[in-house]
Amino acid sequence: MPKPLVEFGNKRMILHQIEALAAAGVTDIVLAVNYRPEVMEKYLREYEEQFGINITISIESEPLGTAGPLKLAEETLSKDDTPFFVLNSDVTCEYPFKELAAFHKSHGDEGTIVVTKVEEPSKYGVIVHKPNHASRIDRFVEKPVEFVGNRINAGIYILNTSVLKRIELRPTSIEQETFPDMVKDGQLHSFDLEGFWMDVGQPKDFLTGTCLYLSSLTKKGNKTLSSPTLPYVHGGNVLIDPSAKIGKNCRIGPNVTIGPDVVVGDGVRLQRCVLLSGSKVKDHAWVKSTIVGWNSTVGRWARLENVTVLGDDVTIGDEIYVNGGSILPHKTIKANVDVPAIIM
């Protein structure tokens, strides 16, 4: 399953992004990929129709870094003079495209990058502004030893088409080549992100990102969340697809996503986990900090925890314990996985 098609909060990652882009008035979307996205075509055609937009797939025959693919898609991006959004497909947040576009227009320079506040800036590339300027970027400091700021690149940008002139068709890094070049000319601004932000490319972050997303739904009073007054809902932030079946005497939550056609047995305990579509958790199992892949089965009295990830169609036997196991698709696990491991 290509990452953009993975359900995040019961909605494909790419659909979260397309929805937000369409709502901001975007009419053309380019998907820059480096693999043949045959499985994606079907979904993309569906979304084109649903949102009245054009989706173009741009395939790199060789890796072009983070800036090269923009050059590759120059034709679509420079159809008119309006600026274009760039987003990293692994990033989740409350995509602020409208506000971003308005801010970008207001300063009139070539580019704006969305930034998010982090607690430990020393782990990231930090943005430093020009003295006495709230948004114009002065420089980037990679993994600063001393505190220089706490805003980092959130992987979402809006750029004028003129930026494409700065990029050559070769493997190029937007962060290390294009942006510093724009900064030199005083052409790059930052835009502060409201609310949560997470790069969900890694399973651990995918789980954390899901918690943040569910919390934001709760905060907004989203009606698709299960009511905390339901007997099995524990601690809130529980999102259950209407087609899922939940057994008797379960305790579910907090921070649980249950996908379409999932079957949860009796006496099951779920917390901080994602059950993807068609999966099955049998009676009395205990699942925490785990992603249960599509059509996978978790046995009775099994216990999964510590960022365990089950691929597609995995079977975990009855009474089995898995501690931080990454289980590849179609595997059947019949013995405990006591220490974190990849099971091929």
Binding site: N249, R251, D266, G267, R269, D283, H284, W286, R300, W301, R303, E319, Y321, D338, V339
Partner: protein
């Protein structure tokens, strides 16, 4: 079970009686059985629904020529009072008495000390059973061999793997005549994989003189050479053994070290090799394989005590009549549930002993573990040991290069919080576990 009446082929034609002694040890000997022996003397620990020595008595009761059984050890008198009272009703053909040593005299020393009581009524033969073994006790077969060979001694032997053999007393025998040619306790090198099961049948005419001469040798040469135990003892546990202190005392005469190797020179010493199950009940964790073996034996013999198989009962399972098990809980195989235990809805218990007054809450999972008296296992908790191979004679395993107990044991009145996981741990009494633990001794 039909048993043939023992007969003697000797010319004098008298039918001699047989007595039995069960060596029960004493409180200072139970250290390897901690934490369970902190609350109950090991011989009275319940395995497959009955005290360990009940299983010995059941076997003894099947030998028609035995009317008298002595328990010899150095526990206080009161320890066995109730057990003897109950057993006298259950085994009306047996007279059961406890003979208390006031100090540890060793397995042979104890026998010798009580020789007058034992020899009263002039029994011809004497069974001696170590209480810390679990086996089918083929006593009638041993008796038959003894009579056929007119043996001075018959020892029960079993075959183990070559690796395990050096942890036990090793027997070299003549495969044809079954005569014991050589006996050595815990040899450093490989001698034989036929080992001593700790069950003996002695001719009374032979055993007591043999012990007497061992005592005489000891007195003549007080600072004897102690045979050192094997350097890598498989069964050493988390508590330091007290064997060494004991053997320094001169009074101590042990059957294994001091008597058997001499008897092997007598030409009238034979081995009965059992093909049936045999395990030592040494560490607390070894109660789990013993429980499984005794339950399987009861199941095969069609015992009415066991729970009837059902969708949620995988036999063999013993459930005390006063226990409450929720119909959605799944038990077995090889599970013993003690008096007044409560097993909640959707709980799972497998290969485990749950001792009296304990509670396993709903959806909890207990595997390869012993849950001590009056303990609590919370909802969705997981208390888990690691299965050891059927042929293994050890209850410890190597995890991350460290030796840990395979079986998880909760001592008396422990509690495991809801959703907590406990794996390969020994938990001393009265502990409250609120976080996940693995491979630890919780003091």
């Amino acid at each position: 079970m039909s048993l043939q009446i023992p007969h003697r082929d000797k010319s004098n034609g008298t039918t001699g009686t047989t007595k039995a002694v069960i060596l029960v040890g004493g409180s200072s000997r139970g250290t390897r059985f901690r934490p369970l022996s902190l609350d109950v003397p090991k011989p009275l620990f319940d395995v497959a629904g009955h005290p360990i020595i009940w299983h010995c008595l059941t076997a003894i009761d099947k030998v028609p020529s035995i009317q008298e059984v002595y328990l010899i050890g150095y526990y206080e008198e009161s320890v066995f009072r109730d057990f003897i009272k109950d057993s006298s009703i259950e085994f009306p053909n047996l007279s059961i008495k406890y003979l208390r040593e006031y100090q540890a005299l060793g397995t042979a020393g104890g026998l010798y000390h009580f020789r007058d009581a034992i020899l009263k009524g002039r029994p011809e033969r004497l069974f001696v059973l170590n209480s810390d073994v679990c086996c089918s006790f083929p006593l009638n077969e041993m008796l038959k061999l003894s009579q056929e060979k007119d043996a001075e001694a018959v020892i029960l032997g079993t075959r183990v793997s070559e690796d395990a053999a050096s942890n036990f007393g090793c027997i070299v025998s003549d495969s044809h005549t079954r005569r014991v040619l050589h006996y050595v306790e815990k040899p450093e090198s490989h001698i034989s994989n036929l080992i001593n099961c700790g069950v003996y049948l002695f001719s009374t005419d032979a055993i007591f003189p043999s012990i007497r001469s061992a005592i005489k040798r000891r007195t003549d040469r007080p600072s004897r050479l102690v045979s050192y135990p094997s350097s890598d003892n498989l069964e050493s546990s988390f508590m330091i053994d007290d064997d060494d202190d004991e053997s320094r005392q001169n009074e101590v005469i042990r059957l294994e070290q001091d008597i058997l190797s001499d008897m092997a020179d007598s030409k009238q010493f034979f081995v009965y090799e059992t093909k049936d199950f045999w395990r030592q009940i040494k560490t607390a964790g070894s109660a789990i394989p013993a429980n499984a073996l005794y339950l399987q034996k009861a199941w095969q013999s069609g015992s009415k005590e066991l729970a009837a198989p059902a969708a949620n009962i995988i036999p063999p399972v013993y459930i005390h009549p006063t226990a409450t098990v929720h119909p959605t809980a799944k038990l077995g195989p090889n599970v013993s549930i003690g008096p007044r235990v409560t097993i909640g809805a959707g709980a799972r218990v497998k290969e485990s002993i749950v001792l009296e007054d304990s509670e396993i809450k709903h959806d909890a999972c207990v595997l390869y573990s012993i849950i001590g008296w009056n303990s609590r296992v919370g909802a969705w908790a997981r208390v888990e040991g690691t299965p050891t191979p059927v042929t293994s004679h050890t209850t410890s395993i190597i995890k991350n290069g460290v030796k840990v107990q395979a079986i998880t044991i909760l001592g008396k009145e422990c509690s495991v919080g809801d959703e907590i996981r406990v794996q390969n741990c020994i938990c001393l009494p009265f502990k409250e576990l609120k976080r996940d633990v693995a491979n630890e001794v919780i003091m």
